[in-house]
């Protein structure tokens, strides 16, 4: 074993290389690793947050769905009510209309009947005069009889 100055040279090299590594090599990789660690941590955190957000959104959507269902039920109820109301109103209107129409028709009928009565009266009086003329055959004063016949006609 020949120990020479080499041993001192190697010791010096050892400390120089150590210093170089500590100052110019180690921090580079340390930083890269730390950055990557941070990125991964951020990614995981974001994923966890997204999951939570999703859960929240789902809860919210079910809530809103419930509210919407209740509202829809209310609206349907209201619509049903309003529908039956409209039907009722329509029925009432129709009834009134029918009454009105019936009343009009009855008035018309009455009027017709009266007109027919008038016409009949006039015709009956004419027939009666004609009959009387036939019986009396000219001797009878037409003007004198006119009043009597009109009286008769109005009594009919």
């Amino acid at each position: 074993m020949d120990i020479t100055l080499t041993i001192i040279g190697q010791s010096v090299a050892f400390f120089v290389f150590w210093w170089f590594c500590a100052k110019y090599v180690w921090p580079l990789f340390m930083n890269v690793m730390e950055e990557r660690r941070q990125k991964i941590a951020d990614g995981l955190e974001a994923a966890a947050r997204a999951e939570k957000d999703l859960e929240l959104a789902q809860a919210k959507s079910t809530d809103q769905l419930k509210v919407a269902k209740v509202e829809a039920a209310g609206i349907i109820d209201l619509a049903n009510k309003r529908g039956s109301q409209i039907v009722d109103e329509a029925k009432d209107k129709a009834k009134e209309e029918a009454k009105r129409i019936i009343a009009g028709a009855q008035a018309d009928i009455e009027q017709e009947v009266n007109r027919a009565k008038e016409a009949l009266r006039a015709q009956v009086s004419a027939i009666a005069i004609a009959g009387a003329e036939k019986i009396l055959e000219g001797s009878i004063n037409q003007a004198a009889n006119e009043d009597m016949l009109n009286k008769l006609a109005s009594e009919l």
Partner: protein
């Protein structure tokens, strides 16, 4: 056996250009050494004997150079990737570098219980650097030395040694383990106080009335840490390299399957030893950060 010896002899004669196997291996285990000759001038050693004569005042140009080159290449490569890294989905080479980074970081996080931002970079440096230095063991043993000899021949160094695997040089492994040892001392004193650190040596594990025994136990334990840390790595890699050299020097034409089998096995040793060095560094530094024992 006689056949094998013949093969070995033939290989030694032909494969290594007239060298004996012993010369071949010795040549591969010597260093390209620059240092101070006994007469006082500085220069490259031309023979292993010259290198030995220089003693401590010399430097292993080959292992030191590879160590520096590999460490610098690794750090600049990591910085290059790090500057282009994005925090989006990583792809290809960034993914690869990040997986190494994450592996080291998770080891530090699980093994080191205190807050010290410098331990992570230390472990990353040690782990990748040692893995790459060990990996040089898997380059066929003659390639780089042959190239080196060809290049060295231009300056009259045609027999120069050129050791390629830095972790087969005890100077390299001990250089690192002693650095770790200084860090253990530094952080121990910083976190426990000098008194706390010394009292751990003196009053532990048997209490203050057994102080000499405590010192006898604790001081070798303390010094065993850097020695075992450095020698474990050195021993494993040296043994691995030596086996490659033996295969290369002895088996001649039959060496390829043997190289393959040993390389596959070595593929386990290369990262394992780097991992062990890093883990022990973490364990030692963790112990250095533990608060002093209050009950003594």
């Amino acid at each position: 056996m006689a056949e094998l010896a013949d093969v070995a002899h033939a290989a030694a004669e032909h494969g290594a250009e007239g060298q004996t196997v012993q010369e071949y291996i010795t040549h591969h285990l010597s260093y390209l050494t620059y240092g101070k000759f006994p007469d006082g001038h500085w220069g490259l050693a031309h023979t292993p004997e010259e290198a030995v004569s220089m003693g401590f005042m010399s430097i292993h140009v080959d292992t030191m150079g590879w160590s520096l080159f590999i460490g610098a290449a690794f750090l600049f490569f990591f910085r290059y990737i790090g500057l282009r890294a994005t925090s989006d989905v990583p792809s290809g080479i960034q993914n690869f570098v990040e997986s190494i980074f994450e592996f080291v970081e998770s080891q530090v996080n699980s093994g080191f219980n205190y807050k010290n931002p410098h331990v992570g970079p230390l472990c990353l440096t040690v782990f990748v650097w040692i893995i790459l230095m060990n990996t040089m063991d898997l380059v066929p043993v003659d390639w780089l030395p042959e190239i080196a000899m060809a290049v060295g021949g231009l300056w009259g160094l045609e027999h120069m040694s050129f050791k390629v695997v830095p972790t087969t040089d005890p100077n390299i492994t001990m250089g690192m383990s002693i650095s770790v040892f200084f860090l253990i001392l530094y952080y121990s004193v910083k976190n426990k106080g000098l008194g706390g650190f010394l009292s751990e040596l003196a009053f532990h594990p048997f209490g203050k009335w057994m102080l000499p025994f405590n010192l006898i136990i604790e001081i070798p334990t303390l010094f065993a840490k850097p020695v075992s840390l450095g020698l474990r790595l050195f021993g494993n890699m040296y043994a691995g390299e030596l086996l490659f050299l033996l295969i290369s020097g002895l088996l001649g034409a039959y060496q390829l399957p043997a190289h393959f089998v040993w390389a596959v096995f070595h593929l386990l040793v290369v990262p394992l030893q780097a991992f062990v060095f890093m883990m022990l560094t973490i364990v030692y530094l963790n112990a250095a950060h533990e608060p002093a024992h209050g009950d003594h």
